[in-house]
């Protein structure tokens, strides 16, 4: 009867080895720490296969909030960081964790709100005025609260609107501490306002009563930058492969791949690697 036990154990091992083989065979790969917006919007699903076809390099994406993605890079757990919070990125490079920041593309944020529009802001263009109205109406507002790029953009917009959100928030302001999709799900379930990047919104399926409430304000502009994690801090960083990916992203070919990505005919990301100061 020991045979039965052995057979089960052997079966487990063989099954494990078989499943593991395909996993361990790839070696030309880099780890990219990026944001939920680039992953959830489907951008990576479009551009990474093109990059792999050209170079054979597999890009393994960890999608996190911008704060967490930068932290992943700081710890040396990624080779390249691709996020959207310029001041945090510049600090990352200044602190010696990243080699150099290259601007890649931008998209924009949109204020999402319920059809019922309790704050009476739907269709307006001034994001600062809209936020003041939401606050004054005490209309439900979902905040990411996760130190992501979208969260820091939201906090910045409250500041621009002259609202001290830390002091003025009431039960209407719900800080959920989760990703963009979770925040949209929460807004959909409670008919609340929420700040979202356009890409995630366009590919988001569980909209319920939600629609775009405010868009087109220049202050809703959202710039993405890419950085190689500094090999001087973390010797194992795959410098050549990571650099190859960065160079491809900002090359005419990579920039075209980004602008070619569309959902329902609508372009999500606008390449601007050649714009000075972006």
């Amino acid at each position: 009867m020991f045979k039965l036990n052995h057979a089960i154990a052997m079966g487990l091992i063989v099954l494990g080895a078989a499943a593991g083989q395909s996993v361990l065979a790839q070696d030309k790969s880099i780890v990219l720490a990026s944001t939920t917006s680039t992953q959830d919007s489907g951008l990576f699903g479009h551009i990474l296969p093109l990059f792999k076809a050209k170079t054979g390099i597999e890009v393994r994406v960890i999608s996190q909030g911008t704060g967490q993605a930068l932290d992943t890079g700081r710890r040396g757990d990624a080779d390249v960081v691709f996020v959207h919070a310029k001041s945090q990125e510049e600090k990352f490079v200044a602190d010696g964790f990243g080699v150099k920041r290259s601007p890649v593309m931008y998209n924009d944020f949109v204020l999402i709100g319920p059809k019922g529009d309790p704050a009476k802001v739907n269709g307006t263009k001034d994001i600062a005025a809209a936020l003041v109205k939401i606050k004054n109406a005490g209309a439900a507002f979902i905040s990411r609260g996760d130190k992501s790029g979208t969260h820091s953009a939201e906090l910045n917009l409250w500041k621009v609107a002259g609202v001290d959100i830390a002091a003025d928030k009431g039960p209407w302001y719900r800080d959920i501490g989760q990703g963009m999709g979770a925040a949209l799900n929460a807004a959909s379930a409670s008919n609340a306002y929420v700040l979202a990047d356009r890409g995630t919104w366009l590919s988001f399926k569980n909209r319920g009563e939600l629609l775009i409430s405010v868009e087109g304000d220049k202050r809703l502009f959202n710039q993405y930058g890419v950085m190689l994690v500094n090999p001087a801090k973390h010797a194992h960083v795959k410098r050549e492969l990571g650099q190859a990916f960065i160079e491809w992203l900002v090359s005419p070919e990579g920039q075209k791949a980004i602008s070619d990505y569309k959902i329902n005919g609508e372009q999500l990301f606008f390449p601007n690697a050649t714009v000075p100061g972006a």
């Binding site: 780890v31 939920t36 040396g76 990703g179 949209l184 799900n185 399926k205």
Partner: protein, 230 residues
């Protein structure tokens, strides 16, 4: 919409099959490792008297309720490049996921095995003492004679491993085509607002877990019959 996950299952969608096989590979390997550690530990706790034994039993029992996200975080900090085991470079790989799940379920297997073997020990104690086989011999005999009941402990461990998302998403990173499992895929589809696909994947996961339990049940029944129904 709800049926899209089943449609992918039936039509043999390669991405879905990669996710399913990775889930099985990770959770079955973790169960195997946890069994190698947990079964002897449970047996020793059942029959060895030593100072502080009750405290160890209470701790092992309590660790059954360890939140996966805490295990994930601890393993993450260990395996991170900035952590003590960072030089192995296994964070964000299936191996890291196996380690996290094995740690998570070893206490479950050990605690359930201890209970099963403690019950057997009552029946076998005098006989084994008379045969003078020593501790190792007693452990081996008890594990062997209790093997069909111990299968339940393994299934409980496997169930916990295949169902958890908190640990694998932290140490695996949910990388498409590399460390994405059934549960992290469900979390991702939920965050994308594709709730029908998420619940469909959940139903597929449930089907797979039922199939594995049915297989284990069949093995147990057949084994018991062959062994003369002990």
């Amino acid at each position: 919409m709800f049926s899209s996950a089943f449609w992918m299952l039936i039509t043999g969608d390669p991405a879905l099959y990669r996710i399913i096989s990775l889930s099985l590979y990770v959770s079955l390997t973790a169960t195997l490792i946890a069994a190698l550690a947990g079964l002897p530990l449970g047996a020793l706790l059942a029959l060895k008297e030593f100072p502080g034994r009750n405290a160890v039993i209470v701790i092992v029992n309590a660790l059954m309720g360890m939140p996966p996200v805490v295990v994930g975080l601890a393993v993450f900090l260990l395996l991170s490049r900035s952590g003590p085991l960072g030089s192995f470079g296994i964070l964000f790989t299936p191996r890291a996921m196996i380690i996290a799940q094995a740690i998570l379920i070893t206490p479950i297997i050990a605690a359930l095995a201890r209970q099963t073997i403690a019950d057997l020990w009552v029946q076998y104690r005098d006989e084994l003492a008379a045969m003078n086989v020593g501790t190792a011999g007693s452990v081996a005999t008890l594990l062997w004679d209790g093997r069909f009941s111990l299968l339940t402990a393994l299934l409980a461990g496997f169930g916990r491993a295949s169902a958890e998302v908190g640990a694998v998403i932290i140490v695996g990173g949910n990388i498409d085509g590399f460390t994405r499992t059934m549960t992290t895929a469900i979390a991702l589809e939920t965050s994308k607002g594709d709730l029908p696909l998420a619940i469909g994947l959940g139903a597929v996961l449930l089907l797979i877990v039922i199939a594995i339990n049915a297989l284990a049940w069949f093995v147990r029944r057949t084994g018991e019959r062959l062994a003369g129904a002990t």
